[in-house]
């Protein structure tokens, strides 16, 4: 059975919106990081979907997704490291208490 590209894009959209909502509203920095991962994955789904059903189907999209995931893994490692460093400094993981940009 063939699934319509629209369905893939719809899933990606929902995933992206859930991620965006989480990133903008959650207080816990860990949850915010998770939400960002969700958004990233939504993008990945898009890439794969276009690679298969797009106007010019090619394997590039799928390979690119692998790279993205690798980079995302590295980025999460760095992100968590920063988070731990912040926690050690401020003894909190609440995003709304991290307002040192204001000063």
């Amino acid at each position: 059975m063939s699934v319509n590209i629209t369905s893939y894009l719809l899933v990606a959209l929902i995933l992206f919106c859930v991620g965006l909502y989480g990133a903008l509203t959650k207080r816990n920095a860990v949850v915010v990081l998770l939400s960002i991962e969700l958004m990233l994955n939504a993008v990945n789904i898009n890439l794969v979907a276009f690679a298969k059903y797009g106007l010019f189907p090619a394997v590039t999209g799928q390979i690119f997704t692998l790279f993205t995931m690798t980079v995302a893994a590295a980025e999460v490692a760095v992100g968590l490291a920063i988070l731990i460093a912040l926690y050690r400094n401020k003894v909190t993981v609440n995003v709304d208490e991290m307002d040192s940009m204001k000063r």
């Binding site: 965006l20 990133a23 903008l24 509203t25 915010v32 995003v95 709304d96 991290m98 307002d99 040192s100 940009m101 204001k102 000063r103």
Partner: protein, 638 residues
Amino acid sequence: MDTLMQYAWLIPLFPLLAFIVIVSFGRQLKEGAAAVGILLTAVSFGLAALTFWQRFQEGASDYAFSLDWLQVGDIVITMGFEVNQLNAMMLVIVTLVSLLVQIYSKGYMHGDERFPVFYQYLALFTFSMLGLVISPNLLQVYIFWELVGVCSFLLVGYYYFKPEAKAAAKKAFIVTRIGDLGLFIGICLLFWWTGSFEFAQIFDSIALGKLEPWMITLAAILIFVGAVGKSGQFPLHTWLPDAMEGPTPVSALIHAATMVAAGVYLVAVTYPLFVASDIALNVVAYVGGFTAIFAASIGLTQRDIKRVLAYSTVSQLGYMMLALGVAGAAGYVAGTFHLMTHAFFKALLFLAAGSVIHAVHTQDVFEMGGLWKKMPVTALTFLIGCLAIAGIFPFAGFWSKEAILSAVYEAHRFDLLWLAIIAAFFTAFYMFRLFFLTFAGEPRGRHDGHESPGVMTGPLLILAVLAIGAGFVNTPYAPYLTEWLLSGETGEVITAAFGEGTGHAAAWLQVVALLVSLLGIVLAYLMYGKRYIPADAIPETMPWLYQLSYRKYFIDELYHHVIVRPLNWLGLLLDLFDRYVVDGLVALTASITRGIGSLHARAQNGQVQSYGAVVLFGLLLLVVAISLTAQGGGFFGQ
């Protein structure tokens, strides 16, 4: 020897140099500033005297020199200097009086804290006045005209810690500004109609009949308005008596001998303009005549020695205007002649009064008296000054006043003649009232008069000699000055318009003038010298008349209520408008901007998530905007 006149431009520059030196090194020089001022003014005087002598010897033609200053379209505005009969005489008068006043001030101002500043102002004034005198065009005249006004303001307000001096300085400046405005409009109109500021070209245009008669009349009257302001003629005379708040040498130099005479000089220098308009001449004559008698009648009752002299100055300036206004070669000569003699004897009177004030520390004549023995030189020179101004033979004032009366008589202006004769009677009376109250009788008040130092009596003696002798330059029997003044280019215009005129018409007029003056003196002697006639007879029998004169016809009060008050109200109104409407608008703009700013500052809260939300919102806006404007929604599609 023609070279000397070419260097006449140096004459004003020496006082300017003195000004610069004293400004730069005043603190170091201290009272040495006087030496700088005196020395450089003396050089100026020497040069002026030599120039005058050379012209007198050789009867040289007028010398004019000018440089292009500005070019506007086809019109070139020039700067330069001019030496002619009239201003060669003025140069000598100004430098001489300035020199004597500066010598005198060395004694008078001794010990004053701001001694160098005083000399600084005097030097600047001398420079401006000399610059005014040698200016060949109206624009330059106007520049220096304002400069002398500023110097007058500075010097009247020299004792700025006294509120009266401050008020007087402001009054002097503002009231003369009213006249200056007239002069300014007059200059602009003349420039508009003739395309030039140069005296020579303006006079040429008039001679060629390029101007309508009403234009000439209007321009002449406007220039006369400037002269009215500067020379303290009615109705702008009120500032001059108040200007006596300045130091006495200043009153002598600026408010008696030179600056106030600038108005008379201006009329004399633009005389061809007035000659071309009978109406303008009549205005000059009647304003002058009225001022002469009006100010003299105020002078009768004043108690302040300097104020009496001030009103006498106003009255004498009125005399000069009267002489200029009655037209004719004789009037022109008589006006300038009186200008010269008046410069000497009035400077003398002021300096002698200064010497008295210096000794007794009061200006109220009713607190003086009996000073004849204590300060003989001052008393003698003051007496000479009084005799000169009263017009007693053979003092300087006799010849010049008689010249004026003759000119008026010759022009058959008998109404003005009567005014002049009555004013002469008043003059003799109040001057000798002053003399007897100050020097005769018993000392009143607690003071210990003593003669002033030689540095002050020296200038007095020199001026006294001039007050005696200056009249002989133009006696009916040897009218040197008449010939001299009428030989210039301006003189030719005047003679062409009116004929030569004998200048000294009737012998009986001399006798009448002399008798009237003597009558005034005798009356003053009886009232204040011997006290045969009680001095308060008139105040008691006719208090309203006395009050009218003593309170200066309530002119100051009138101006205060009719002009100053409404203007103050208007000013207050405009101030409110400015404060609440104009400033309000400005404040509104500022507070709106500040409000928007603080709104944005609140958004700047350091929360990453809210920044993210804003970015999202912005993106959405962008998307919506683009999809709405893009043709056929084709942005996302094909």
